[in-house]
Structures are given as structure tokens and as C-alpha cells.
């Protein structure tokens, strides 16, 4: 089986600014991985490259051995750091939309999660708060049986109580062969669920290690190490 994600000398430039430079990275299946870095370090650029919203300037990126395209989008479930659902839709419309386009979408699971969060499927997205919209988006994304989940700042806009629910949703809703890539700078909140971390700084990967190794070798938490590495 191919690694779920492989990057070789991957670079992305925006008019002479290096958003990512020379990234070599292999992600295995069945892990929860934190993509950690300060604002503007290249996290979103990296995730957009995985999802084919950007094209590499140099190097290659392979998902399950294939370049990003219609085929890889079938197996990657992506949560952007934007409210991306059309405002005129009802929650039920978005479920139908996902069911139509993604064969791996589990409608029952999504309906259950909505019920547990007491979200009425008849409500229009227009009428929901930003945090509630984010919850709906997360439910849609996590109701897919994908091989790779890319979650860009999934807990940025919600309150701490909802954060716990969301993290819980993430770790209980992926199968053991799937990999979850979570980008964030709120490390303390998600540290306990991570298997691996990737530190990214100025478009370069400075560390890729398992969380256990960090605790053993460095003798500190990921949060403490992050504060040390990225000290301003």
C-alpha cells in the first residue's frame, strides 16, 4: 500500500515569496498528525496543495501515489479554514449535496451528529452563527469515510466546550487506516489526541516526529517545545 501522502522537494512560490520550500515528507496511514506553525508559516498553502487548489511551483506531491486531481479528491476529506457552504442552502441541502458527490459519505452518521448537537436540518445556513456553521462543516467532513482528512484550523472559531466536542468527533469518526492532518496553532488543546507532529516555519518543515519521541527525548510537552522553537 502506498503512503497516504508523499512530498518530494515540494515548493510553492507566490510572486517571489516562498510560501513552501523544498518540503520532503511522507505521511503514513492510521495517524493523527498535527501540522503546527505560527501564522503565515505555510500551513494553509500546504493543505491547499494537497487538495489541488494550488499547483506546486516545483517538486511533486502524491496522495495514495497519485497527483492531486478528481481521483484523489474522492479519498481526501477537506475542511477549509473558511465558511465555504453556500448561504442559501438548508443544512439538509448540504447533506444531500455531500451524499450526491461523495460515495463515501455516511448520511446516517451525519444525521446522528446533527441530532446530538441539536441542529435542525431545516435551518438555513444564513441563519446560523459562524461557530455553528463550522460545526456543520465539520460534521459533513467527518461523515465521510475518507483515507485522508485535512482539517485546516478546525477549532479556531469555536468556544472551548465545542472544541472538546469537535476533537472528540475527530478521533471517534475516522477509521484506523485513515490519516488525519490537523493544522492549528492552538496546540495545548489538541496535543492529547496527536500521534505525530510536524513543525513548519517560514515554509520549511523543521521537525517531523512522534509525540512520544518528543516527550521522551526532549522531556517536555509539544506545546512547551513549540513555544521554545517558535519563540519571538
Amino acid at each position: 500500500m502506498n503512503a497516504i501522502l508523499e512530498c518530494n522537494a515540494l515548493s510553492k512560490r507566490f510572486s517571489n515569496i516562498n510560501a513552501l520550500s523544498n518540503v520532503n515528507l511522507t505521511l503514513e496511514r492510521g495517524r493523527i498528525i498535527g501540522l503546527l506553525g505560527p501564522n503565515g508559516s505555510g500551513k494553509t498553502t500546504f493543505i491547499k496543495l494537497i487538495n489541488g487548489l494550488l499547483v506546486p511551483s516545483e517538486g511533486t506531491i502524491l496522495i495514495d501515489g497519485k497527483k492531486p486531481g478528481a481521483d484523489t479528491k474522492k479519498i481526501v476529506s477537506y475542511l477549509p479554514d473558511k465558511t465555504f457552504l453556500p448561504e442559501w442552502m438548508r443544512i439538509s441541502d448540504t447533506l444531500e449535496f455531500y451524499k450526491d458527490f461523495y460515495e463515501d459519505f455516511d448520511l446516517n452518521k451525519a444525521t446522528d451528529m446533527l441530532k446530538r448537537l441539536q441542529l435542525d436540518p431545516k435551518r438555513k445556513l444564513k441563519s446560523l452563527s459562524k461557530g455553528t456553521k463550522e460545526k456543520v462543516q465539520l460534521i459533513l467532513v467527518m461523515s465521510r469515510q475518507a483515507d485522508l482528512y485535512c482539517l485546516d484550523e478546525p477549532i479556531g472559531g469555536v468556544d472551548p466546550a465545542a472544541r472538546d466536542y469537535i476533537l472528540n468527533t475527530i478521533i471517534t469518526n475516522y477509521n484506523e487506516n485513515a490519516t488525519v492532518l490537523i493544522s492549528t496553532h492552538l496546540i495545548a488543546d489538541i496535543e492529547k489526541v496527536l500521534d505525530e507532529v510536524i513543525f513548519i516555519k517560514d515554509g520549511q518543515i523543521t521537525l517531523h516526529s512522534s509525540v512520544d519521541d518528543i516527550r521522551m527525548k526532549e522531556g517536555k510537552s509539544v506545546d512547551a517545545l513549540f513555544r521554545e522553537v517558535f519563540k519571538c
Binding site: 489541488g52 487548489l53 478528481a70 481521483d71 479528491k73 474522492k74 465555504f84
Partner: protein
């Protein structure tokens, strides 16, 4: 995949357009009845005047709103935050463009048909049928006299040109939006700029092309048979080329230079 995309495209656009078409339909029926009965007299004559204004506005709305809704849909669905949803569907960029193009073509043709149908319903009397058939027959004879055996070809040419010109109108807007989204701020303004730029370039090209052909061709061409056999096919080839160019650029920009907000 194209069928699914097309279905959702129709669903999204119908939300606004079906009510607009429905309002025009109701105004047509109401006005037809009011015109037919002539029951308002004295101070009440303002009522038919008012409903007539409503009728005219609703017909204009069918064409204008359809046009505007289709542009906004394309712009918003692909270049705003909704683009994150659309461009990560397991579909090719070309399929996204095709589904929107097909829906836009369908709605444009429907809006024209709706206006024609409404005018017929509104102003047609039973005894008009004879004169309309008569006029059509006379028109047909005229075309036949001018083009003889080439009449069918003439009509096919005209239909193809009409469809290609609608497509080229739609695609020229798509390519303008695809260019506009390259910019970081004022993307809508940049799209307008691109549209104006494209049209100026096109006009200049046409002026030059007409002048050159005018110089090359012998003077005093009076053979109308040239229209369906040479001139229209040239225009068709030009439109096909233009549409392919618009399409290719749009597809390229959205595939390789996507710049979502």
C-alpha cells in the same frame, strides 16, 4: 459527474429564476384578461395602465435577471469561499465549467422563449393566425428566392451562429471572471476590466479582419449564395475558434492559477 453538477446547477439557479419566470407568467395572464374584458372605465383606467407597466417590467426582468443571476452564480460559486467546496469535489475543472455553461445556455434560451411566448399570449387574437402564417410563408418564399437550393443550409447556418454567439457571450464573461480572480483586491472590478479589454480587442480584430477581406475580395459581389456557403461558415469557424480560446483560458486559469479568497 457532469449530470450531478448540472442537476445542482439547475437547483441553485431555479431558486431565483423560477419565481421570476412565474411572475412574468402571472402578469401575462392578468394583462391578457384585463385587455380582453375592457371593464375598467373612468378613474379606474389607471388599473390596466399599472398592470401593463408591471407586465413590461416583468418581461424585462426575465431577460435581465436571468443574465445577472447566471453571472453572479458563476462568480460566487467558483471564486468566492464557495470555491473551496466546488474545486475540491471529485470532478475535473472542465466538468465544473461545462455544467455551468450548459445551465446558462439553457436558461438564456428559455428566457428568450418565455418572452416570445408571453408576447404571443398577450397580443395574439384568433384571426391573427392567418396573417402570421401568411407572413411566415412570404418570408420563406423570399429566402427561397434568394438562396434557392441553399435555403436549408442558410437556416442551419443561422441557427448554429445564434447558438455559438450565445455561448461566446457566456464564455467571454467566464474568462473575464477567471482573469479577475487572479488579482488580490478588487476582483470584481478586475473582471469588468478584463471583459471590456477582451471586447475592445475583439472589436479591433473584427474591424481589421473586415477591412482586409474587403481589400482582398473583388468588388461588387452580389451573389447571395456566398452567404450560406462561404461567409456564414467563415463566421462559424471564427466563433468556434473564439469559444475554444475562451474555454481553454478559463480552464487553464482555474486549473493552474486558482486564487481563492
Amino acid at each position: 459527474m457532469l449530470a450531478k453538477l448540472f442537476k445542482h446547477e439547475l437547483k441553485a439557479t431555479s431558486k431565483v429564476l423560477v419565481p421570476v419566470f412565474l411572475i412574468a407568467f402571472i402578469f401575462t395572464i392578468v394583462n391578457r384578461i384585463i385587455l380582453g374584458f375592457d371593464i375598467f372605465h373612468g378613474v379606474f383606467t389607471f388599473i390596466p395602465a399599472l398592470t401593463l407597466v408591471g407586465y413590461v417590467v416583468s418581461l424585462i426582468a426575465v431577460v435581465v435577471v436571468t443574465f445577472v443571476v447566471l453571472i453572479i452564480r458563476f462568480y460566487k460559486n467558483l471564486t468566492s469561499e464557495e470555491g473551496y467546496l466546488m474545486f475540491t469535489l471529485p470532478a475535473k475543472v472542465s466538468q465544473l465549467i461545462n455544467s455551468k455553461l450548459l445551465a446558462a445556455l439553457l436558461w438564456t434560451v428559455l428566457s428568450f422563449l418565455a418572452v416570445i411566448l408571453s408576447l404571443l399570449v398577450m397580443y395574439l387574437r384568433l384571426n391573427d393566425f392567418a396573417s402570421i402564417i401568411d407572413a411566415l410563408q412570404r418570408g420563406w418564399t423570399e429566402i427561397n428566392r434568394a438562396f434557392g437550393a441553399k435555403t436549408i443550409l442558410f437556416i442551419i447556418d443561422v441557427i448554429i451562429m445564434a447558438i455559438l454567439s450565445i455561448i461566446s457571450n457566456i464564455l467571454s464573461i467566464y474568462v473575464s471572471i477567471a482573469i479577475g480572480q487572479l488579482f488580490h483586491g478588487h476582483r470584481l472590478l478586475a473582471s469588468f476590466g478584463a471583459y471590456i479589454g477582451i471586447n475592445i480587442a475583439l472589436q479591433m480584430f473584427l474591424v481589421i479582419a473586415t477591412a482586409v477581406t474587403g481589400l482582398l475580395l473583388p468588388e461588387n459581389i452580389n451573389d447571395t449564395a456566398l452567404l450560406p456557403t462561404i461567409i456564414f461558415p467563415c463566421i462559424i469557424v471564427f466563433y468556434i475558434f473564439l469559444n475554444l480560446l475562451y474555454y481553454w483560458v478559463t480552464n487553464y486559469l482555474f486549473s493552474y492559477k486558482l486564487n481563492l479568497e
